[in-house]
Amino acid sequence: MADPMRIRAQASGDKATVRVLMSHEMESGQRKDSAGKIVPAWYIQEVSASLNGKAVMTAEWGPAVSKNPFLQFVVKGAKAGDKISVSWKDNKGDSRTDEATVS
């Protein structure tokens, strides 16, 4: 199973900035291994985020997003103590959901 994400959500005024680090190879499908064979693409395709269980954002990614991806977005109406949940799913069907509390 994939390693956990690191999610930091910091409230400021009536919104919270969410910073997420995900543990993923994000293999582009362009790279060759030492034997000269193309390493198959393996990357996060879908990302979604929710605030206290309510979906606030979805994203679709291509294989160009860097290894161990970083994502930042701003959730309106989020305050300290709220729960931010982030999920990803990759092109092999593996997925991961982690949650953080807004500080």
Binding site: A59, E60, S66, K89, T97
Partner: protein, 151 residues
């Protein structure tokens, strides 16, 4: 103008948003395969059923002037336009131009940051796709330098 594909896609997004805890319902997101294979800004917009993109000062793209390493290039996209439906980040000279696509709701700001691989120096784009299908963009050049001998 809305294509059939676009209509389908919209309902897919709605389905995705209805998913409660962020777990993905089966096939909630129909991954935009064609858009993620497109080679240019125009083709990405077309694949998403959007109109021809127009440059706009209300869209902002962020990134370094020079990236020390093409493996990780921090890029941001934001817009002050009301009624934005999607925010896109593109790298023109990558094998496929579209890097990331963010689907908006009223609960997030139209401002996103992520990091992209870049094979070479290139223009990068932030694109705002509006509810009415119009697309606006900003671009900037990011130079990618080669590193040292590996250290």
């Amino acid at each position: 103008m809305q294509t059939r594909r676009e209509t389908l896609k919209q309902s897919a997004v709605v389905a995705g948003l209805l998913a409660s805890t962020g777990l993905f319902p089966q096939h909630a997101l129909a991954y935009e395969k064609v858009a993620f294979e497109a080679k240019s800004l125009a083709d990405v917009a077309k694949a998403l059923g959007a109109g021809a993109p127009v440059e706009s000062k209300d869209v902002t793209v962020g990134g370094p002037d020079i990236a020390e390493n093409g493996a990780v290039v921090p890029l941001t996209a934001s817009t002050t336009l009301a009624g934005v439906k999607k925010v896109l980040i593109l790298v023109e000279k990558n094998p496929a131009a579209l890097v990331a696509m963010f689907n908006m709701t009223d609960s997030v700001e139209a401002s996103f940051a992520t990091r992209s691989k870049m094979g070479q120096s290139s223009d990068v784009y932030a694109v705002a796709v509006m509810a009415d299908g119009k697309a606006f963009y900003a671009k900037k050049e990011v130079k990618v330098t080669l590193g040292g001998c590996g250290g």
